[in-house]
Structures are given as structure tokens and as C-alpha cells.
Amino acid sequence: MTVFLTIVVIALFGITLWQMSKILKLSQNSANNSQIANDKDNNLQGKLMLAFVIFLYLLTIYCFVQYHTFFLPESASEHGIDYDQLMLISMVLIFVVQFITQGLLHFFAYKYRGKKENKALFFADNDKLEFIWTIIPVIVLAGLIIYGLFTWTDIMDIDEEEGDPLIIELYAYQFDWRARYSGEDNVLGKANVRFIEGINTLGLDVSDNYGKDDKITNELHLPVNRKVIFKMRSQDILHSAYMPFFRAQMNVVPGMITEFAYTPILTSEEMRNSEFMVEKVATINKIRKEKSKKLVAAGEEALEEYTFDYYLLCNKICGVSHYNMQMKIVVESEEDYEAWLKGQTTFGEQLSAQASN
């Protein structure tokens, strides 16, 4: 990579120097020094246009080859499969159009580069042509819009009655996250920031019995294949709960409760062992090892080895530590999930423990 960079830099500077020297040469024989493009300029610049579109194609290919590992792995949520499908279709469409239009634009620039004796064609209008290229985008976009809207409605249709969804509150504050599980009754107790006091850091209404069995955690554990409805609440300012592996994101807004729902379909374990992730983590650890070497040489601590876990990150600018506002997500089997949940204390227990102190 560094080698590539160096080559790019050298090449660009080379081109600059070459052009600079040409300028000097050209400015010396100033027979035709009008600063208006002449046939020689047109010829050279036209060819450069052709070279440029080739550069653009190569850049595209390079990025896809080199960066295909950047794309997120297969979706870990159910609706994410439709999402990825729609994304793929849109991407293919975009690149076809990009390939053709950039090609035409730069090829015409090259092909019709000016010459003194040439005559341009006076071609001001053509209704048929214009109709065609109006109607094609109309049809294509209509298809995309309809497809997109169906998927959107499916994702956003959050029904608490249907099936047996798990209800979890995501609570955001500068600069961390908390999850509140609704307990046995699967109903979240009432809460408001005005109730925040002492260990009641999420502002639960102590008089609301639904809240007594709620469990507050700083990791998000989800059972696989069960729909989860997130109710999001912010303590201070705007945050955004972004869970890229689940194709899920929703802003967390003070003063209102926002919602998002999805069904996780791949456990953390399955994702960790997928071919994509094994390779990706290996690459990352290689990078980290090399970095550690430098760190150790400089007398600092080495970096830890990375194992993959799902994460949730804040994706709405929220202050100085915005870049490190994250929470670990664990997707596991129903049994593991139940076992973990049992180990967490309820809000009621916390309160009485404090009272007895």
C-alpha cells in the first residue's frame, strides 16, 4: 500500500514537472501567445480526456478489487437480506450508468477535439431523443421507488402485538449506552430524566410497578431469531444508534421515544466463524501486530489481539468523545441469553439493596 502511495505521489509530481517544463517551453516561443486554446492544445487536451476516463475506469476497478473486503458481511438481521438485495440492484444500475455516461462524455471530448478546419454541427433540438432519455429514467426510477417503498414499509412496520417480540430500551447519554430489558412482564416501566437520582441513573419512575423487574445492562445481548423492538431514549442530546451489521439505525432524540425493530439471524459465534470474518480479522490482526511492534519499540503497550464482536456505535455528532461511544452486542442462542439475563439484577433489587445499606 505504501509502495502504491509513493508511486502515485511520484507519478503526480512527475506529471506536474513535465507540464511545468512544457509551460516554460511554450511561453518562450511566444509566437502564438494569445492564451486561447489552439489546435495543438485541443489535440493534447482531447487525448488527455480519453486518458482520464481510462484512469476513472481503472480507479473503479482498483477500488473494487482492493476494497471489496470493506463491504459489510452478509446481514445479521432478517430485513437486512432485502436491504442488501436492493443495495446490490441499485449499485449495479449505478455502475452501468456511470460506465456508459462517463465513457460517452470523455470519448466525445476526445473524438470532437477542435481543429481549425472542422465545422460543428448545428444541432439544437430533437424531441424524440429528449423524450427517450426522459422516459427511461422515469421508468427505472419508478421501479426503484416502488421496490424501495415496499422494503421501507416492511422495515418500519413495528407491531408489538405480532409474534412475541422482545422489548428493550436503548438509553443514550454523553458518552455511553445502556440497555434496559423489560423483565418478565415484557413491559418497560415509565421513565423520565426528571427522576434521575443516585443509582436510578436512567430516571425510572419508582412508583411504577412495571419498572421493578426491568434490568439495566451495559452490554446488549439478543437471542437469535427473535424479533427485538428497540425503544430509544436520550438523556441529553441527539445521538444515533447505528448497528451496521444489522442494517439498523435510528436517531435517539431527547424528549421523544424513537423505535426500530429487527430480528437477528446470525449469532456472534456464527459471524465470527464466517469465512469473510475469519479473513478480515486475520488481516486486522496482522496490521495490529505490526503496529504493536512499533509501539513496543517506543516503550508503549502493545495492542490487544482483536476478536470480532457486533457493536453499536453513535452516529450523530454528540461532543468530544463522540468517536468512542460504543456498546458491545452479543447475539446468542435462546438458552445462553436466558442464562445471561438471569445473572443481571433487576431495578427493584438494586433499589432494595441500596435501601438496606
Binding site: Y112, W133, T134, G319
Partner: protein, 605 residues
């Protein structure tokens, strides 16, 4: 129209050559649109230098997060101690970079410069409808620029809530230092900026409607004027909404109201605010914010339409479709703002509506792109630097516009929202494209502004390094965004998952540094050409529009004698009679002031 003509004539007698100009009235408090346009351009360029320099600083931070750079300490003072950038100043740099580039460079610097220069010259008017208001407009802009620059020196740092200044972050100094004095100055500066922009826009609209010369019907207007005219209208419709958003925010900050604030517990304290909603601010902000994209872009598209036609020696293809597209884009731009808010917590049904309107905007945009490409077809292309930048604009407009199809789709937006994918998208489609429009305009009308020619070879170097650099910066950035990397992160090192993106971030920063260096070539060319450039001839690009019928030396009132009348549309390039000869023998263009020749038919374009 004859009445207008008469009025102009009177004006001619009153004003022309009768008053002495002092240094102050000529260069500082000038009411002459040509001087005001130069003032806009130079102020815009200076703001541009600041804005781009900021982007280099935070790009360096992103590429080499654990490296210490003395330059941070030199430029950022206490926020860059020991060469380590403070996270709060990182956010401030991002915020002010966005604000300066969008408003001060691309709105005022681009539209302000060229609307002022070209509207009177291309429609055949002695000056703007109100020279005085025009002067006030510039000086308000200047004042707002000064305040924005001063805000950089606020004790707790400049505004740092992102250029969209979403409350509560922007409303609460407890949440981030920059939301104190820095944000107050930001709001004051923007309020003045809006006043400036409104005065300017009203003037443009009135001038275009009332002061067209004899024969200059709306369908004979150059596309530049159409673009400036419609841009001014969108500005008038949407900027006041930003002002009201800002006023309510000022009240929330200073007078204890709760328009945007509710249920907040911060720094161990519950705030009294109740019942407000940040989503309201988002609606108000984007009601301006989205049309703003087109306020930035349409003038650039107008400029390139004119330049591509002139340099292709061909009429612009589909003049009426181009005008219709400008109008359609302008109309749609005011009803798509919600696509910035798909996941803001607003009703998902609204999301569906905004997806629909947003994707519709792709249609007029596609028509424009195809028309540009067809204009090149079978042309006799003259690759002046302005032409290169115009073609470059079409290229980045297509690349950046296409990814809009993904972001405009509410479903797909979920996972790329606020990632680097968005950053790449809007920089290409509005940032780079509009900058190319600005450069194209400067190269093309420099002879008109300063009576000198810019060096074309330096122009070529400037273009090619910029073109390669801009794609080098923003094309890989899409892929970084697809990895789910959020924007506005001070460093990505807290997520080991992003470790493999480091090299790409370095690559992007290197391209950014090279591209910025290429802009120095432009600056050198610009400044040295003003003083030492080759003297320009009256119509260097052999163009049809009216500005090239004025003398090279600037005079107050533009034309020494009577205002020229117009007999044809501005795009009669390479028009031939039936026998295949040019309508005017020996020249491939027919300026608007030339009456129809014997046997020539006027096109019903």
C-alpha cells in the same frame, strides 16, 4: 420592453460621466456591479483558502491519528498543544469547514460573483436594479465573514456542533465548549449572511424581470441568467426559514424558551425545558439546507451550459429542456428536505413521501447530463481551461449524483446515513462540481473582469491535478463509507474493526494535500494575471452573449453608447444557411446583437 429601454436611457443621461469617483466610491463602497462582483470573488477566495486549509488539518488527523504535527500547535494554539489535535477542535474544524465552504465560498463566492457580474452584462442593463442595495448586500456579507473568522478565536473554541448545528448540542454550552461564545458568533454571522443573501437575491430577480434590453425575451436569455434567476428565487423562498430556525435557537440558548429542547439531564442537572423537539429544528434547517444544495449547484450548471456551448461551437442541446430542468429542479428541491431525516424519528410515512420526491429529482438531473453530452457530440471543441472544468463538472455531477439514488432511498439510507458514503456523495455532487463551476467561470470571464487573460498552461496543470486529485480523494471514500465508518469521528482507532481502513485514509489525505497544492497554481495564475497577464481582446472566446460587446476597459454603465438590442437567442454557433455556409460569412458565431440575415430562419428552440 420599450419602456424599459427608455428608462435605461434616462439613467444613462443622469449617471453617465457626470460624477467623479473617488478611490473609496470606486474600490470600496462601490455601487458598480462589476466591482462588487470582484469584491465577492476575492472575499470568497480568501474564505476558500481558510476552509480548505481546515480540511487539510483534519484530514491529516484522520490519516495519522497518533502522529504529532507541529503545525497543529502553530495554527491551533492551545487546542494543538505538543502537536496533538484536541478532539473538540477537530469537531470545530469540521463544522467551520462546512459552514465556510457551503455558505461563504459556494453561495456568496460563486453566485454572488457571477450573478453580479453577468446579470446586467448579459441581459443588457446598465447596472443592477438597485446599486445601493447591491453594495449593502456585499458589505453585509463582508461583515458576516469577519464575524465568522473572529469566532475562530473564541475562548472555548468556535462552533463545533457540525455545520447543521442540530440542537440540543448547539444549544447547550454544557454539552460542548464550542456551543458557548463560538456558537453565538456563528449564529450572528449567519443571520447577517442571510440578510445579505436576501438583498442580493431580490436585486437579481428584479433586475432580470425588469431591466432586460429590447428584444431580450425570456426565451432568449442565456442559461446562465436562467440559473441565477431561479437560484435567487429559491434563495428568497428558503433562506428566511433558516433565519427563523436560527432565531428560535437563539431564544432557546439565551432566553430560556423550549422550541427545540425537552427532558434534558446534563452535567448532573435537569434542565427546565419541556415540550420542544430537535426534529422541528431539523425540518426548519433542511427546508433551507436542501434547496441550498441547488443554490450552490444551479449557478455552476448555468455557467457550464454557457461555457460548453461557446467552446463546443455548438448551440446548447435542448435549450427549452434545460430551462424546464432548472425549473423542475428548483421546484422539487423545496419538497425533498426530509431525505436528510429518514432516521430522525419522524413518521416513517413521511419518509416514503420524501423518497418519492427525491428520486424524482433524478429525472431533470439526468436530462441535463444527457443534454451536456449531446452538446459535445459533433462539436468543434476548444479546450480552454474553462471548458475543461465544465466537462469536469459534468463528470463529477454524474458520479456524485448517481450515489444520490442510494441515499435518497429511505431503505438504503438506513445503513449509509452519516457515514463517509454521504461525505463522498455530497462533496462530489455539490462541493467539487460547484467549485469546478467557480473555476470555469473565473477562467472564462477573467478577461471581462480584469481585462487580462489568465495563463492557459497553468490552467491545464491546475485542472488535471485537481481532476485526478478530487476523484482520488472522494472515490475511495465511498468504500470507506460502505464499511460503516461514521463521519465526524476524531479517530477510528477505538474500533479495531476499522483498522484495515487506515491505509485508505492515508491515501485520501495524500490526494487531498496534492489537490490543495494544485490550487496554489490557480492562486498564482489568478494574482499574477491580474497584474501581468496578457491584455485581453474584446471577445476572446468568440462568444455570442452581450457581455462581450462591452469595451475591455470597465466603464460605469457598461456600454459607451446606447444599450444594444437583441435579435436572436445566444446559441447561434456554427449555424448555417441551406447552402452550408455560416449565416455570417467567415465566422462560426452570430452574436445576439446581429439581426437575422437574409433568408435566415429563427429557430423555434
Amino acid at each position: 420592453m420599450s419602456a424599459t429601454q427608455g428608462d435605461n436611457h434616462d439613467h444613462d443621461h443622469d449617471d453617465h460621466g457626470h460624477h467623479k469617483e473617488t478611490f473609496i466610491t470606486k474600490y470600496i463602497f462601490s455601487q458598480d456591479h462589476k466591482m462588487i462582483s470582484k469584491q465577492y470573488l476575492i472575499t470568497g477566495i480568501i474564505m476558500g483558502i481558510i476552509g480548505i486549509a481546515m480540511s487539510l488539518l483534519f484530514r491529516m488527523q484522520l490519516a495519522w491519528p497518533d502522529h504529532q504535527f507541529t503545525i497543529y500547535e502553530v495554527l491551533l494554539g492551545k487546542f494543538g498543544e505538543d502537536g496533538i489535535m484536541d478532539p473538540s477542535i477537530y469537531l470545530a474544524l469540521v463544522t467551520i469547514h462546512g459552514t465556510i465552504m457551503v455558505f461563504f465560498v459556494l453561495t456568496a463566492g460563486l453566485s454572488g460573483t457571477f450573478s453580479n457580474l453577468l446579470i446586467p452584462l448579459q441581459i443588457g442593463a446598465r447596472d443592477m436594479a438597485s446599486g445601493f442595495l447591491n453594495m449593502v448586500s456585499y458589505w453585509l456579507f463582508f461583515l458576516s465573514s469577519i464575524i465568522m473568522v473572529l469566532s475562530l478565536f473564541a475562548e472555548a473554541g468556535p462552533a463545533s456542533a457540525g455545520w447543521t448545528i442540530y440542537p440540543p448540542l448547539s444549544a447547550l454550552p454544557q454539552a460542548i465548549g464550542g456551543s458557548g461564545t463560538g456558537m453565538t458568533l456563528w449564529l450572528v454571522s449567519m443571520a447577517i449572511f442571510i440578510a445579505s443573501s436576501l438583498l442580493g437575491s431580490l436585486n437579481y430577480v428584479v433586475t432580470v424581470i425588469n431591466l432586460r434590453t429590447k428584444g431580450m425575451s425570456m426565451t432568449r436569455l442565456p442559461l446562465t441568467i436562467w440559473a441565477f434567476f431561479v437560484t435567487a428565487i429559491i434563495g428568497i423562498v428558503s433562506f428566511p426559514v433558516l433565519l427563523s430556525a436560527a432565531l428560535l435557537l437563539i431564544m432557546d440558548r439565551s432566553f430560556g424558551t423550549s422550541f427545540y429542547l425537552s427532558d434534558i439531564y446534563i452535567q448532573g442537572e435537569v434542565l427546565h425545558n419541556q415540550g420542544g423537539s430537535p426534529v422541528l429544528f431539523e425540518h426548519l434547517f433542511w427546508f433551507l439546507g436542501h434547496p441550498e444544495v441547488y443554490i450552490v449547484l444551479l449557478p455552476a450548471l448555468g455557467i457550464t451550459s454557457e461555457i460548453i456551448a461557446t467552446n463546443a461551437r455548438k448551440p446548447i442541446f435542448g435549450y427549452r429542456a434545460m430551462v424546464a430542468s432548472i425549473l423542475a429542479i428548483a421546484f422539487l428541491s423545496t419538497i425533498v428536505w426530509g431525505h436528510h431525516m429518514f432516521i430522525s424519528g419522524m413518521n416513517p410515512f413521511l419518509g416514503s413521501v420524501f423518497t418519492f420526491t427525491t428520486l424524482l429529482i433524478a429525472i431533470p438531473s439526468a436530462v441535463k447530463s444527457f443534454n451536456y453530452i449531446t452538446t459535445l457530440w459533433k462539436g468543434n471543441l476548444q479546450f480552454n481551461p474553462a471548458m475543461l472544468f465544465s466537462i469536469g463538472l459534468v463528470s463529477t455531477f454524474i458520479t456524485g449524483g448517481l450515489t444520490g439514488i442510494i441515499l435518497g432511498d429511505s431503505t438504503l439510507d438506513i445503513n449509509v446515513h452519516d457515514t463517509y458514503f454521504v461525505v463522498a456523495h455530497f462533496h462530489l455532487v455539490m462541493g467539487i462540481s460547484a467549485l469546478y463551476g467557480l473555476f470555469a467561470g473565473v477562467y472564462h470571464w477573467f478577461p471581462k473582469m480584469y481585462g487580462k487573460m489568465m495563463n492557459k498552461n497553468l490552467g491545464y496543470v491546475h485542472f488535471w491535478v485537481t481532476a485526478i486529485g478530487a476523484y482520488g480523494v472522494f472515490f475511495p471514500m465511498h468504500f470507506v463509507g460502505m464499511a460503516g465508518l461514521p463521519r465526524r469521528y476524531y479517530t477510528n482507532s477505538n474500533f479495531p474493526y476499522f483498522d484495515d481502513l487506515t491505509d485508505t485514509n492515508v491515501l485520501i489525505t495524500v490526494f487531498a494535500l496534492i489537490t490543495a497544492a494544485a490550487q496554489l497554481v490557480f492562486l498564482y495564475n489568478f494574482i499574477s494575471s491580474i497584474f501581468y497577464g496578457k491584455k485581453a481582446v474584446q471577445n476572446p472566446w468568440q462568444s455570442n452573449t452581450l457581455e462581450w460587446t462591452t469595451p475591455v476597459e470597465h466603464i460605469h454603465g457598461n456600454w459607451p453608447g446606447e444599450i444594444p438590442s437583441v435579435f436572436r437567442w445566444p446559441y447561434d454557433y456554427s449555424k448555417t444557411n441551406e447552402n452550408g455556409e455560416y449565416v455570417i460569412a467567415g465566422q462560426d458565431y452570430a452574436p445576439q446583437t446581429i439581426p437575422l440575415q437574409d433568408g435566415e430562419e429563427e429557430m423555434h428552440h
